[in-house]
Subunit: 116 residues, 2 copies
Amino acid sequence: MQQESVIEIEEFANILKLLGDKTRLTIVKILDSHDCCVCEFVEIFKTSQPAISQHVRKLKDKGIVKESRRGQWIIYSLNKESEYYPFLQDVLKSLPDQGYRLDELEKQGLRISCCE
Amino acid sequence: MQQESVIEIEEFANILKLLGDKTRLTIVKILDSHDCCVCEFVEIFKTSQPAISQHVRKLKDKGIVKESRRGQWIIYSLNKESEYYPFLQDVLKSLPDQGYRLDELEKQGLRISCCE
DNA sequence: TAGATATATAAGTGTATTATTATATAAGTA
DNA sequence: TACTTATATAATAATACACTTATATATCTA
């Protein structure tokens, strides 16, 4: 971890809990290599759209991800300005690449233009 | 994070969830500088003994901490052989030192001989 | 403007988590 | 051996969490 600043222990625990969910952790890992919209995550996780919206909202509330609208789509990306971003990189570097999930979408023709 | 091995994403999420609790995260931070027994954590957190036992058991189940009996006491310490230990160090280095908690116990005369 | 698409929010439900109380086990001591 | 201390385990209750369904909002397009 490059970051040397000290973070309140309770605040940090909340970040760890936030990342301690398989779906959210995978979302963040995917966003580390590709910005993405909600609809793609819905396909990837085979879950409902509100479930994904709720996960990304939690990530956004803590400043881990940010959003930008492009037409109808809202593109999510990692917030590199977050005070947790350096720590996040420590987490992500030990996780297996999730690129295959986007590749699978591509094969099925479910890749959305907004996220290419 | 020094560790370069890739860890299953779900498994890693479970470790993050495990650490994503204020009490457990503080326990681990304290153990990083002092081995400790359950009774001291009970004093520090002003909670019940079973609550602490359950927290350390969860940490032990995942191999984050290990125990060794010394008479009536069971001394807990970080398990440096854990595959998560290098990552744990990344987490702990950004947390404020918790030594003052043990100092307070000392002042109150509640420091247990086993943990000196 | 009406309909379609993408996303967000609200309400409700089932499950997981954490704490408590009560009890069991294990070691030390009189 | 009886009593005390330290810890673990079991049962239970309160709370938190993640999902679902239903609905609202925002943008695009015919």
